[in-house]
Symmetry: D2
Subunit: 304 residues, 4 copies
Amino acid sequence: MKKGNRFAGVYTPIPTPFDDAGAVDEQALRSNVAQWMRTPLTGLVVLGSNGEAPQLDDAEADRVIDIVRDGVPREKPLIAGTGRESTKATIAASARAAAAGVDAVLVRTPAFFKSQMTAAAFIDHYTRVADASPVPVLLYNVSMYTGVTLHAEAVEHLAHHPNIVGMKESGGDIALIAEFVSRTPDDFIVLAGSATTLFHALCAGCDGAVLALAALLPDDCVRMCALVREKRLDEARELQRRLLPLGRSVGSSYAVAGLKTALDLIGYRGGTPRPPLTPLAPQATEIIRGQLDALGALAVAQSS
Amino acid sequence: MKKGNRFAGVYTPIPTPFDDAGAVDEQALRSNVAQWMRTPLTGLVVLGSNGEAPQLDDAEADRVIDIVRDGVPREKPLIAGTGRESTKATIAASARAAAAGVDAVLVRTPAFFKSQMTAAAFIDHYTRVADASPVPVLLYNVSMYTGVTLHAEAVEHLAHHPNIVGMKESGGDIALIAEFVSRTPDDFIVLAGSATTLFHALCAGCDGAVLALAALLPDDCVRMCALVREKRLDEARELQRRLLPLGRSVGSSYAVAGLKTALDLIGYRGGTPRPPLTPLAPQATEIIRGQLDALGALAVAQSS
Amino acid sequence: MKKGNRFAGVYTPIPTPFDDAGAVDEQALRSNVAQWMRTPLTGLVVLGSNGEAPQLDDAEADRVIDIVRDGVPREKPLIAGTGRESTKATIAASARAAAAGVDAVLVRTPAFFKSQMTAAAFIDHYTRVADASPVPVLLYNVSMYTGVTLHAEAVEHLAHHPNIVGMKESGGDIALIAEFVSRTPDDFIVLAGSATTLFHALCAGCDGAVLALAALLPDDCVRMCALVREKRLDEARELQRRLLPLGRSVGSSYAVAGLKTALDLIGYRGGTPRPPLTPLAPQATEIIRGQLDALGALAVAQSS
Amino acid sequence: MKKGNRFAGVYTPIPTPFDDAGAVDEQALRSNVAQWMRTPLTGLVVLGSNGEAPQLDDAEADRVIDIVRDGVPREKPLIAGTGRESTKATIAASARAAAAGVDAVLVRTPAFFKSQMTAAAFIDHYTRVADASPVPVLLYNVSMYTGVTLHAEAVEHLAHHPNIVGMKESGGDIALIAEFVSRTPDDFIVLAGSATTLFHALCAGCDGAVLALAALLPDDCVRMCALVREKRLDEARELQRRLLPLGRSVGSSYAVAGLKTALDLIGYRGGTPRPPLTPLAPQATEIIRGQLDALGALAVAQSS
């Protein structure tokens, strides 16, 4: 019984489009999902960091899940971000997401009380959440946003919980990623979360990835996994080099605003993020346009 | 017209007690508030970090404000924490708090998308919140929890908004505190938020403080302000030295769990924090008991 | 017997001027020392960080001490930086400096093997150095340059060594400075090393300061000490506010190159630092000129 | 003309043994070198960080090079660390090392004046050193010890200097390592310096490594390079997992003291480091003994 293996593959953490009034733009969301369903992506992650989950209220979050589930065929995994600051709220959000039909929940570390977020606190939190969740749980470590780190000791312990089937690691610390891989059972999947170190994470043994970049370049991201699997390292390394600038733009440099703008440029519906996130400055838009063009993504958009 | 001066003074950010089932313990909260009202504290801050605000849902938060407002006489300032990750939710929370009768709102920086939280983003966020808020706004910089910093440039700009009357700075960077004081108008108040640097912050020109320690030792915290005001620096420095160990315990070392345990030890009702926060370990309890004893706080509790 | 008290006061860590060929410019050095001797400075520190000590060889260092000692009357304390990476070399440098007539040595923490620089390692190092040194030793913590920190535990221990009479703390962590003051005997002096937090460090109990800024504005720096001693806090705070921009320029912003340029602008002989340090860019020179002008230092220079 | 390719391979940065009086133990050094010459190591690095170079004086450094050169056949590359804080002293040390017959110099970044160590300052420094050096120069970035980082922009620029043939990167930031590889010409070699990320660095395109671990396990380190070259990734990943604990011990955990103790345990002559470095604590020795045993290194030592 390979508990996590059904979730191996390449996902994108889809952004949440807003309309001019700042409400969730349901039509844009449906349209985007339909487009991604025509790509080789394994599945979608909804309400991740790129989905601006911390900025949505519970009613909005529930609605987003419903809409996306509606557009994702049952055979494709749909994973929802349900992490909250309290264990109680995380359990409640996971239950609601499960009821809405998601296949797994991706639970980012609670992080507000940083000095108190010890390995013991994380183990206790995730054990309670996994005990209660009707669907499998994926751990989610995203230190660049949370300022805390889920260390290998805690992951090693939690990987033996029957309802914890894997994790997403969003950082680029390759030694840490390698430890997650080597200290967990084979059926516990580790998904890379940083496009800037995708090739390296796959070499280290990751089972796939959840990447903002995959919303823009799903074929290239899927191809990277294939190249590493086939040990075509020189080609993979070269592909990584080519993906790096755009990977940075939709990662640490411009984050959600960058991703949304890039989507607009290739024919999806991105729009602007919710305040306090600010719209992308014009010169950043031009940088991203140039990066998409260099990767051939603009041409595809224009011809389609 | 001294816009912020009515909020100068010493406050404590009260914790939220929970009952055995994990619900807000309203009776314990009422009892604590009544006790603090018999101390020389200027007023109370409700739903701050020590109130475990990030772990309460909106209905709980509203209820907590109602209960506390009920126990705080109108002439004493009641300030509520209403910071949320989105500008929209912050505005809504501030409106609800104002409707419940708080005198001002304390709005911590949004912080999830750290790399995007530029001075411009903060200025835009706080301007929108202050424009909308029915009651005065206090900025709240708490880098140890948020991982972001509200820099002096943004504060200098925001200090001129008619509805932004001051700020709480929870860190101990004395050069930054001094800049907040020197670059804002006299009627913009700066409240110190770290007991471990209280004396220094007051020397630097702070107009008061919001301190977990003040929940335990209100007289000493008020006395510190008086000593600095009267330029009795040697006595103030000595008092700071005495307060340091307990200040650390209820600050970075044990945080909310430490504060709640300390309250239990001196006759208030603290209890345990909400998970993922964990109860204090027994040896930490003994450390805190010793620190309270050294300050004479246990004796007071036992004789009363 | 007040072991360290004779070293209380205001010092400047003098830069080492170089001639066009990159050799120590002895004439310029003599000239500068003579000028400082006409100011109210307590004494001089030679071969500190601002003296580019890590960039001089031993023969140059010895020569610099000789020249400066020659220009500083016996009744004024001359302190020499003698810290090296190995304990052995530090002991040798201290012996040579003592033989050249310095009154005390200022020994920065060894720092190369950062992870190994534990409190125990520092205690052992400084004990050996102090045991061997013919003249009193001052500890020197300068984390911005060394990347290591001498913690309060180690300082508290070392302060009881009969030949360790004080320390210079170059950082702005006011809680740490306060601990150095409160955990050491009265006759162990703590000298502030950061102009940007001078006022605060003096309030915290420092016995004086060693400041690059004092090379430029000796009267103002001495006056700050007097103001705090006389508890004229408002005037001191205002003076600190005025000194801040230039303090930053000759501190973290432009460091030695900034200090040397500023000296050139007010009639001392600064010149350029030794590579890999680079000369100041023209726009930085203009910034410093403006800051000196705002403080009245240019006018003094031109009229003298 | 492949300028750096003759330096590709696996090296160890040999420690400097001291006798009981603290002087360089020349006999121990000769003996160790002779032993390494019977391993498959490509060559040796003398006076690196593990050689305690910052703690040796120039005369000692010169003597160490002479001794090691004497024991290393001309066809094996001998590389000497010659980085100093000043450009001038670095040029002098490189000239002396070249005169003593080393094949290349490894020049760590100057680092004392951290805030001033800009890309421009590094480019200027290394250009002057490379212009003057009689032998090829390797850049050396070791942020864990220096606290500064040589960024990809500077390396890209410097890689075109005819006398700069490669670099050693001691950190584990795989994205940075990949940039060094992708932004430099093919004949500029990048050597990995961290055993804990060796496999990953080789996947990223490194041309070899300089590893303390290779002093203990030269065969395994050489084998890792072969496995990656042959794309036997599963075996390489497993080898990396096995090497990790000891790699950490002789890296960040116990550094030079750990390496020296490990050498003693396998039949080389390590001894204790020079103060302020402290001898290894007994329990750390037992940890290292267990790690060597788990890797079969003790048995080899005992049987030989």
